[in-house]
């Protein structure tokens, strides 16, 4: 099982992150200075790390503006592993991952499965997609929970993990 994270290259605008930041300011929370967003994919199945690299490079990331990390993981730690290199800044305070709850239709994953086949990798795989947010700034746990529940995750269909 592999976990792929897509990161924005240095110097490019992380526009989804900026949207989230403006939403956070919009609900009256001042202390967050920067938000970075990364899409996450977990690929499960009889698949090699070389093939996963190909999927990340050719399918899931934009070579010009994005880079990616691929980490091997097990069933238990897949949703939890921290990135080997935190992106860009070291004033970062917390990381939030958001995943669909079991049974909720994940349409992007369906498209990934189909596209992987089109890439010529014919092994049977399963894909889960998630979202990762790097929040920079000093905030309390209560405020953080508020941000997550009000803006980042809909707990009806998604679950989240805070680092």
């Amino acid at each position: 099982m592999f976990k792929i994270e897509i990161l924005m290259k240095k110097g490019y605008k992380n526009s989804h992150g900026e949207h989230i930041l403006s939403d956070i300011c919009g609900i009256g929370i001042k202390n967050i200075t920067k938000v970075e967003y990364s899409p996450l994919y977990v690929i499960d199945g009889d698949i090699s790390s070389v093939e996963t690299e190909t999927i990340a490079a050719e399918l899931l990331s934009d070579k010009i503006t994005e880079t990616y990390t691929v980490n091997s993981c097990s069933q238990t730690n897949c949703g939890q592993s921290l990135p080997s290199k935190p992106a860009i800044n070291n004033s970062m305070n917390c990381i939030v991952e958001v995943w669909y709850k079991k049974g909720v239709t994940d349409t992007v994953s369906g498209s990934v499965v189909k596209a992987v086949k089109d890439l010529g990798i014919s092994k049977k795989i399963e894909v889960k997609t998630g979202h990762k947010y790097y929040l920079h700034g000093k905030i309390s746990q209560t405020i953080l929970n508020k941000i997550v529940i009000k803006l980042l995750a809909n707990t009806l269909i998604q679950e989240y993990k805070i680092k």
């Binding site: 239709t105 349409t107 009000k150 009806l156």
Partner: protein, 803 residues
């Protein structure tokens, strides 16, 4: 015979009334005690207990969402005015809205109130199909998924009308709570209105844009009454060959299910939409959309349609397969093998497969001889297509799972067995008093004008509109925002689609517009309904539509119909629909109602302010004649057509200035229809340069919009405005929201011909297009002169909703 393959027998025969109610509640069936008793009686006759899937099927077929029990049930209505009047409706819908359509009997209405959408004639070979639906409850819980599947469903309605229409444009109308509400005021478990608004817009954007269908017309209305229960109306218009409008189902035809796989998504959506929202609303009622699958279905099915490979099609909406297959097989009977339905994952019980509202699924009726060819076409587009059963002759619904019969019921009972409820409705007509004369200084009028332009319900919706692709397919000729360039624009009255890529060589266009005003409904639902019907027509007329060729759709969103006052206000609105339809000679061709828009906070129940959305669709003979709203050239004359009455009741001006009294704008069909017809004639003779209707905010707002959309100035003499009551103050003239009024710009050389056409109507020359950027309102009589800069007003209009 009834073996238990994941299928339970439900004890119903020996239950008491209390136990029946409990059974209905515990299984989210949303069935009343009368209905439960009827079901009990049916199975008593058979001397057998039903299976879970049989009970679920009945609950779906009898749900408010599928059967519209309130509007088609018996209503005992009492009205209190000077005298008390009583009336019994055996079927409100048939005795008001539908009745008007039948009486008008328009030959150009090709399909009304019977299919997934209404169809009117476009030209000798084609029809235009239009449908608007609501998706309120799912959008309250998961705004993104809810609104995305809302537009997805509206598109599928168009694919499922007749043998399928090709979608050309989408419309969307939303009602949200105040986005500036402080976070702590939001009840536990509900999303903030701003989050709902943003996510709903993203949902419609992502689905519509990915389908390659432009979103061209809409409206957004903010009111605190929609805080925990937003309204999401989605509509789609499409074009359909006239010879593809009729469906047919023969015995022995096969049932083909096409598109998405079935999962646990949206179980109990139909019955769920019939109950009220609270904190513990059902999780599995959430649906997630996948536009990519729907796009593939669209492409493949139109190919199959043109090869005549199927006899009927419908979409899986509320109630899933149970509703879609049940309706198609109503006259013949049907047998379905549920184990053949393709699933997203294993572990679903047969009843879950049968009623799941998983998205992007269509059901086709295929003659056996075309079996292989049709599947080939879908496979080529990578669309899953699987035969799951066939139509029979026994007039029974038979469901099988691994060859075991798990349900067997009479179609007659399923479709016509629902007992007619009797509901009570009352309405007290409130007397509307004229407000105290509104005297305002120059400064106060300036301030009011700016406050109006920046009001949430008048301000620019550009932030939303620009997220939608309103240009894809390249046929949008009159656009939602109109003006000099991307930064300088005003709100268009209606959208016009020129379907030249679908119908080669045509000169005709299709106009789409809408009317919505819940604020009026808080005071008088009759006037609200009349006003929004008139507004939708006025919007269409303003771009150059011939209202003799316009049809309308109704969408009622109301609170709990078990409360007599709420149902009474609905009866009044439905009566207004009948009266206006007859008076304007405008048929209703389709409609939908969403009742039970009620939510509870801390144990207290709140109903939404009643909202009637009227969506108009019409055919324009020559698209090259259409006009837009920005002013065109300096020195051109400005005319205000129609009478300005002292009607500030329910107006945005009254809300802002906290004016409690006031008369809600009424509709004068004879006067207003005559004006619309004259506008059409003048536009067709190229006598009108620009045209805009007066609605929320009144004359001053409408003139300002025309000016700043063009980066031009305008000089208006308010003394020249024709009023009913000579004592109206300048502020009342400027901000009254009287219906039936248009502002038009006319060249000097066309003035004579223009006046000729408008002989007999009330109109006046009220000003001219200025040569600088000043917007001026002057009353010499009252010694008042308001002067504002166009660019400044534009900025005010644009800055409110700029997230």
């Amino acid at each position: 015979m009834k073996s238990a393959v994941n299928c339970k027998i439900i004890e119903i025969l020996n239950l008491s009334d209390n136990q029946l109610i409990k059974l209905s509640r515990n299984n989210v069936l949303s069935l009343s005690i009368e209905e439960m008793r009827e079901i009990q009686k049916y199975f008593e006759k058979l001397k057998i207990n039903p299976t879970d899937i049989e009970i679920e099927t009945i609950a779906q077929a009898w749900s408010e969402h599928c059967k519209h029990k309130t509007l088609t049930g018996i209503i005992e209505y009492t009205e209190y005015a000077d005298v008390q009047t009583k009336r019994t409706y055996n079927n409100l819908l048939k005795e008001t809205i539908f009745k008007a359509t039948v009486e008008l009997n328009k030959k150009w209405c090709l399909s009304v109130f019977k299919d997934n959408a209404g169809v009117i004639e476009f030209d000798s070979k084609n029809g235009v199909a239009f449908k608007v639906e609501t998706h309120n409850h799912p959008s309250a819980l998961e705004p993104y998924g809810g609104s995305a599947t809302g537009i997805g469903g509206a598109i599928r309605d168009i694919l499922g009308v007749g043998l399928g229409a090709k979608p050309l444009a989408n419309t969307d109308v939303f009602c949200f709570g105040d986005p500036n509400t402080k976070a702590y005021k939001i009840p536990e478990g509900m999303h903030h209105p701003k989050r709902i608004a943003k996510s709903v817009v993203s949902g419609v954007r992502d689905y519509g844009n990915r389908m390659g269908i432009p979103t061209v017309n809409g409206a957004v209305y903010f009111d605190d009454g929609y805080m925990a229960n937003p309204l999401v109306y989605c509509g789609t218009m499409g074009i359909i060959p006239k010879n593809k409008i009729e469906k047919k189902v023969n015995s022995e035809d096969l049932i083909l299910v096409v598109g998405g796989r079935t999962g646990r998504d949206g179980i109990h959506g139909a019955t769920f939409s019939s109950i009220q929202l609270d904190q513990e609303s059902d999780v599995s009622a959430v649906q997630i959309g996948n536009p990519i699958i729907e796009k593939k279905v669209l492409d493949a099915m139109l190919k199959a349609r043109d090869l005549n490979l199927y006899r009927a099609v419908t979409d899986c909406g509320a109630g899933g397969l149970s509703s879609a297959v049940g309706e198609l097989g109503e006259k013949t009977g049907v047998v379905v093998y549920l184990d053949k339905v393709p699933l997203k994952y294993s572990g679903l019980s047969p009843w879950e497969i049968w009623i799941s509202e998983a998205q992007e699924r269509m059901v086709f009726v295929v003659p056996p001889k075309n079996k292989n060819r049709i599947v080939e076409i879908f496979e080529k587009e990578n669309v899953e297509a699987v035969f799951i059963g066939k139509f029979t002759r026994d007039k029974k619904l038979t469901l099988k799972y691994n060859n075991d019969v798990i349900a067997s019921m009479d179609m007659e009972f399923l479709h016509n067995g629902v007992p007619k409820p009797t509901r009570y409705a009352v309405y007290k007509i409130k007397e509307e008093k004229l407000q105290k004369p509104v005297k305002m200084s120059v400064g106060e009028i300036s301030k009011a004008l700016k406050a109006l332009l920046s009001d949430l319900n008048i301000c620019s919706k550009e932030w939303i509109i620009r997220q939608y692709d309103h240009e894809v397919q390249g046929q949008t000729v009159v656009k939602p925002l109109q003006g000099n360039n991307i930064g300088i624009s005003g709100p268009g009255d209606a959208a016009v689609i020129f379907p030249y890529t679908v119908i080669k060589g045509t000169k005709k266009g299709i106009v789409l517009s809408n009317g919505l005003n819940p604020q009026y409904g808080k005071i008088n639902t009759y006037k609200m309904a009349a006003s929004v019907i008139e507004e939708s027509l006025r919007n269409a007329a303003a771009v150059g539509a011939d209202i003799e060729k316009v049809a309308v759709l109704d969408n009622f969103c109301w609170g709990n119909p078990n409360k007599p006052e709420i149902l009474g206000s609905l009866v009044r609105a439905a009566n207004a629909c009948y009266d206006m339809s007859k008076a304007f000679d405008i048929p209703f061709i389709s409609g939908k109602d969403s009742l039970n828009n009620e939510y509870s906070i801390g144990g207290k129940k709140y109903s939404i302010p009643p909202a009637l959305l009227i969506s108009a669709v019409g055919v324009i003979e020559d698209v090259s004649k259409t006009v837009t709203m920005p002013l065109k050239n300096k020195d051109n004359k400005i005319f205000l057509i129609g009478i300005t009455r002292n009607e500030l009741g329910g107006s945005v001006f009254a809300k802002i200035n906290n004016i409690k009294d006031g008369v809600v704008p009424d509709v004068y069909p004879k006067e207003s229809k005559d004006i619309m017809k004259k506008i059409y004639r003048a536009i067709n003779k190229n006598l009108i340069e620009s045209c805009h209707d007066c609605s929320e905010g009144g004359f001053a707002v409408a003139v300002s919009e025309m000016a700043f959309a063009a980066g031009k100035g305008v000089v208006i003499n308010t003394d020249a405005v024709k009023t009913e009551d000579v004592s109206m103050s300048p502020a009342e003239i400027l901000f009254s929201e009287s219906n039936g009024r248009f502002i038009v710009e006319v060249k000097h050389k066309n003035e004579f011909k223009f006046q000729e056409i408008f002989k007999g109507a009330v109109f006046a020359e009220v000003g001219y297009v200025g040569d600088n950027e000043n917007i001026v309102f002057e009353s010499k009589k009252n010694k008042i002169k308001v002067k504002e800069n166009a660019e400044n007003l534009l900025k005010i209009w644009q800055s409110t909703l700029n997230w």
